[in-house]
Symmetry: C2
Subunit: 136 residues, 2 copies
């Protein structure tokens, strides 16, 4: 049975796509989401079948497009790391020239949480765009 890793359970839920659950990173410095395939015992992409990989790539494409259209980043970072959280989760992170970690990577940065209202609004905006309820 699919179950989120404890460290992913702590993230805010955005919505489900066909294959992946989409989660939110509470860091106002970077619009940042995760795609987590709802499959059992998937430590890394190597545990996916070829068809699951292609489906994942299709959902990454959708999510990248939505995030880019909403936030207009300089660059989008897409990464599967999983050293600390060995359940496959794809980071999709909007990066901006001059953001606190630019041009480095963000994984050693301390998070700056959103205000509760900002967080709710941002999650809603991403959810509506991912679900096609609002065109972006």
């Amino acid at each position: 049975m699919f179950k989120l890793h404890p460290s992913l359970q702590k993230k805010d839920y955005i919505c489900d796509l066909d294959l992946c659950t989409v989660l939110f990173e509470d860091n106002q410095n970077y619009p940042w989401i995760f795609l987590v395939p709802r499959l059992e015992n998937i430590k890394s992409m190597r545990d996916l079948t070829h068809e699951q990989r292609l489906k994942l790539m299709t959902e990454i494409e959708k999510a990248e497009t939505v995030m880019a259209n909403l936030f207009h980043p300089t660059q989008t970072n897409v990464a599967m790391i999983g050293n600390m959280t060995p359940q496959l989760h794809v980071h999709i992170i909007c990066r901006f020239e001059g953001d606190p970690a630019w041009p480095g990577t963000v994984w050693s940065e301390k998070a700056v949480p959103y205000s509760p209202q900002e967080k709710e609004n941002t999650i809603l905006k991403i959810k509506q765009a991912l679900k096609g309820e609002v065109n972006v």
Copy 2:
């Protein structure tokens, strides 16, 4: 016309796959390669067509499998960053519990170069496996 970004031109060449050129990172701490699609003006995955993305995912799958079978890592990190080098290149990095950056990410680490002989042997080993000349 496809041309490698100057910072990718400095990397050692391994071989060409159908879509991507495969390059080598000279850092003996981490078996680490790059896949670079041989396409013009591709800053990030967002510049690929859907079909090119699926082809890229297929080549990532092949490269991950080869690297895992050759080096038996604890985890494989797969990432598209491109903040400093805005030409799409996919990092495929073998990570080991207890490696110098473990469990953090490797991008702020200083590289420890291979000896010339080790480098040549490692590149040859990866090339032969990717080209199917040696089964791994």
